[in-house]
Amino acid sequence: MTALAAPTGVWRREALTEVKRSLRLPQFLLPTALTPAAFYALFTLALPHPEVPGYAVATLAGYGVFAATGPALFGFGAGVAVEREQGLIELKRVSPMPAGAYVAAKLVAAVTITAFALALIYALAIVAGARLSAGTWVVLAMLHLASAIPFALIGFGMGMRMTAKGAVAIANALFLGFSILGGLWIPSALLPGWMQTLGAFTPSYHLGQIARAILDLPTTGSPWIHGAAVLAMTMVAAAWAWTGWRRSPA
């Protein structure tokens, strides 16, 4: 009785299929990709704002992170809970697919949708007069895309533990909470003290600060400290996601 070797390309095919699935769900794709760009357009372009030079660039830091929270929290948190209730996770679980391929595929799909949202926001920023070097755009885009990872892991842990209804409600609360407390909409410095304190416990706050550092904007404390905080939170989120997968019977 020997175990057979794993076929190659499983992770790649799983990811491509997941992206294909996401693109066929416009009711999920459009709101999650368009909402961040609509917010950015409203607050940076349409509404009156302080005549600070580089305002469009300053707000870009936070809105880019905001663009990553939606697909990750809703695609994973709510999406995984729905898939669990529909028996789709059970279908995967009895198959020889390695568990990691499922998570990685979902992550690729969330990052792909984030990329659409970011492309829209970056285009609006350029229209609003933002001028960055090519290198800065690339580093900023990499950070913004990677921002999806901690939120996706938090969402995955929720999806494995909660009902679809519960997960949608919590995903909404976290979506708003991470955005406001993390200073993604209104700079943290303008928030009341207690909100700033709470904000320090969100990955969004630290990611926003790293994005500001990439854009040469003033940050609170060293970007390395923020990087370490994000890394620590991501590892806790990964443990939360993994235990959720292990303990869920289906």
Partner: protein
């Protein structure tokens, strides 16, 4: 034991507690290659939990679960396993072709797509999205996913529920062929006619243990011959005292008697109630056999 040498999947001394209830109680079970094994028993007997342990979705509290000699929770063990679950869903927006191709890709030596679709009777539906399928078609897709990897063990959980009789017969034919080709098949079903048609071996479970392990024919023989049904004023307690009666009870408005000698019982029955109507005599079915097998257990529980 020969059992052990040929076993592709095994539960040894397995106990499992779920939600505070002891669902499996020191269960021993072995599935052999080239055989269709039906796992039968009342709801709550532990069939679903046994299948969950063999397919790696649960781990035993005590004892061991083995699939091809290793832990079923390892993907390597599942590369020789094909599963058709009743509780599993299908992704609405993928086509049958896309889904089957994806799943076939999990296996080292998959069956060609067209062969899978033909075996599952899905040839003309390949480009239909899963969300647009009827209940019976969705079950056929689940079957396609179970067989797409040339698995050495097929686990079929209520395979023909929601299928019409024609589709069910076609499926039975292909399952038989796969078993004759050397695959092991584990079948759970509420349809005892299905189990009788398909199974080489029947395991009857009750209260987390195996209470019978035999061929369908041997089990039917154990039930003892015939089932007599009629409309009568006789109550079961009285009917049970008639000659050759093994068991008597009500089935709707009918009195139902299991008899080892139908002629002797019917003669006495007609003597006892001259107004008796609607008399029918049938060979004991697998369902009768299992009801007989489980009834002393029910009494024991009630006592």
């Amino acid at each position: 034991m020969i059992d052990d040498l040929a076993a592709v999947a095994r539960l040894s001394g397995v106990s499992k507690r779920l939600g505070g209830r002891l669902v499996l109680d020191g269960l021993d079970l072995a599935i052999r290659a080239g055989e269709v094994t039906a796992l039968l028993g009342p709801n709550g007997a532990g069939k679903t939990t046994s299948v969950a342990l063999l397919t790696g979705r649960l781990a035993p509290d005590a004892g061991t679960a083995q699939l091809f000699g290793i832990d079923p929770r390892r993907p390597a063990a599942r590369r020789r396993l094909g599963v058709m679950l009743q509780s599993a869903g299908l992704p609405d927006v993928l086509t049958i072709r896309e889904l089957v191709t994806l799943h076939a890709g999990y296996y080292p030596d998959p069956r060609p797509l067209n062969e899978v679709l033909a075996l599952a009777g899905l040839g003309d539906l390949a480009d239909r999205r899963c969300g647009a399928l009827s209940g019976g078609q969705a079950r056929r897709v689940q079957y396609a996913l179970a067989i797409c990897g040339r698995a050495d063990l097929l686990v079929l959980d209520e395979p023909t529920a929601a299928m019409d009789r024609g589709a069910a017969r076609t499926l039975w034919g292909t399952v038989r062929d796969l078993a004759d080709g050397g695959a092991a098949v584990l079948l759970t079903s509420h349809d005892l006619a299905e189990a009788d048609t398909l199974a080489d071996r029947v395991l009857v479970m009750d209260a987390g243990r195996i209470v019978a392990d035999d061929t369908p024919a041997a089990l039917r023989a154990r039930a003892g011959g015939s089932v007599i049904r009629c409309r009568t004023t006789l109550v079961p307690a009285v009917a049970a005292l008639l000659p050759a009666v093994r068991e008597a009870g009500m089935e709707g408005a009918d009195l139902r008697i299991v008899s080892v000698d139908a002629a002797a019982t019917v003669r006495a029955l007609l003597d006892a109630d001259a107004q008796l109507e609607a008399l029918r005599i049938a060979d004991a079915t697998l369902e009768d056999a299992i009801a007989t097998l489980l009834s002393p257990i029910e009494e024991r529980k009630a006592a």
